[in-house]
Structure formats: C-alpha cells, structure tokens
C-alpha cells in the first residue's frame, strides 16, 4: 500500500466514514476513492489534503533529518571483532545480573 493510500484509508477509518460517504464529502466517486485506497491510482498531494479535510482532519507534513540510528549502530558493531561483539552482549548480561 502506498503512503497516500495509507493516509487516506487511515483518515477515513479514524473519522468512522464509509468509502461512499467520504467520496460524497470529498466530491469524488466511490470508485476513484477505492482506487486511491488500494494504491492503484496515485492522487495528487492537493487531492490527499482535500480528502483528509473531508474527514475532519488536517494533514501536516514536516521535513526531518533521516533516521540513521540503526545504520550508525551497525557501523559501530561491525567495527568490532567477533570476539568483541560477543563481549558486548556479555557485558549487557553482566549489567542485568548486577541490577537484579
């Protein structure tokens, strides 16, 4: 499912609306809205905004730095030797036992 499809379907379900009712409120057809929700047709951004508003919600978009935390940690872990990786896991176990 595309992001637009997930947003539209999520907004509709949150508003407790049927596909038919939301289509009526948003000024589109039942068939078109169904295609949007299935992801078989990609609506324009302005269309997604309009459909979300028809659900009584507001679509907010913000820009953010990409989350690189998983990759950063993997890089650090890969820099260790296999023995050091095992020691890292053992050290966490040691901490858990110390607290328990």
């Amino acid at each position: 499912m595309s992001s637009a499809a997930a947003v539209i379907r999520g907004a509709r379900l949150r508003a407790g609306l049927s596909v038919r009712e939301l289509a009526r409120r948003a000024g589109t057809s039942h068939a078109t809205l169904s295609r949007y929700e299935r992801g078989s047709v990609q609506p324009a951004f302005a269309t997604v905004e309009r459909i979300v508003r028809a659900c009584g919600l507001e679509l907010r978009v913000h820009l953010d730095e990409p989350d690189t935390s998983d990759a950063d940690l993997a890089t650090s872990f890969l820099a260790l030797t296999p023995r050091q990786r095992l020691e890292s896991v053992a050290n966490v176990d040691r901490l858990r036992r110390r607290a328990g």
Partner: protein
C-alpha cells in the same frame, strides 16, 4: 568509531564517578529491570545544569568520547561542556566503552526534571543510578516511532505485563 566492546557498566560507573546527574533511559533502562533483550548503546537523560554539563563532558572525555561522525567531511570532535548547555538535539558519542546517546528531551517523556520523581533507584552493587521505568521506556519508544523503537515494543509490553503480574 568505538575502540572496544560495548560496556554499559563501565560507562555508568564513569558517569557516577564524575558526579553526573542523569537518568538511564532506552533499552538499557529496560535491561536494568530485567528485560532479556540486548542492545549496543546507552541512552541517558542528563539534568540541564551548567555544572552537570561540565561533569558530563569530563566523564565522556575520560572515556575518550568522540562525536559520532555523520558526514564524510566531518572530523570527529571530543566532547565539550558547551555541547550540553542549552542543547536541543541528541548527541551521540563513540567511546572506549561503546556508544552513548546523550538526550536533552526524550520523546514522549520529556526532560530529566520531568522524570526524576518517577525514576527508579537501581543498585548496581557499589553505586546507584536512576532508571526510567519500563512504562516510561515504552512511552518514549511509542513517541519516537523509529523502526528500532517500534521493533522493541511488543516485547517490552509483554515484559511490563509480566512485571505487573508478579
């Protein structure tokens, strides 16, 4: 890049030895309460105070901390107390004892001051640390919503239910 294996006990001892006021958050907080899943970084929520920033920078320098290098042209820098005065974004460091994330405001649970009253005093057989409750760890991961946070949630919720049942 960290020079050795992840050693959270060494990091916590070092922070306490340098009189840093902080709360352990994230997966290590859950580990301290018995959650069986491992991790490879320590997350802390330090108190916002100039003296604490100095203590924290001293502690990190003693662990040979370097800012995590996010860009190819960025030189690693040592920890400095200015890093922790009025800062708003998480700072990550690789140290001789592994990765540490210094978090000014944790998603969903806020600052040190917001959490200190509800923190759990954890005895580490020789010193104590303040630890975020499992509920707080879950709330923070729910709010952060990163893939690595979301992956942990089912196991943490099951663990919380187990703790409540005991």
């Amino acid at each position: 890049m960290s020079a050795g294996p992840f050693d959270p006990l060494r990091m916590l001892e070092t922070l306490v030895d340098h009189d840093v006021e902080f709360i352990v958050i994230g997966q290590i907080a859950a580990v301290l309460q018995g959650h069986p899943e491992t991790t490879v970084d320590l997350d802390i929520l330090p108190k916002h105070a100039i003296a604490n920033a100095e203590h924290l920078a001293d502690a990190l320098r003693s662990l040979n901390a370097r800012h995590v290098n996010h860009g190819p042209d960025t030189e690693p820098m040592a920890a400095d107390e200015q890093d922790f005065i009025g800062w708003r974004v998480t700072r990550s460091f690789d140290t001789d004892a592994g990765r540490i994330d210094v978090v000014p405001v944790a998603a969903g649970i806020g600052t040190f001051d917001d959490n200190v009253d509800g923190a759990i005093v954890t005895d580490l057989d020789g010193f104590v640390v303040l630890t975020a409750s499992v509920d707080a760890v879950i709330a923070s991961k729910e709010a952060a919503g990163r893939p690595k946070d979301v992956r942990r949630l089912p196991s943490l919720r099951a663990f919380r239910d187990q703790l409540r049942a005991e």
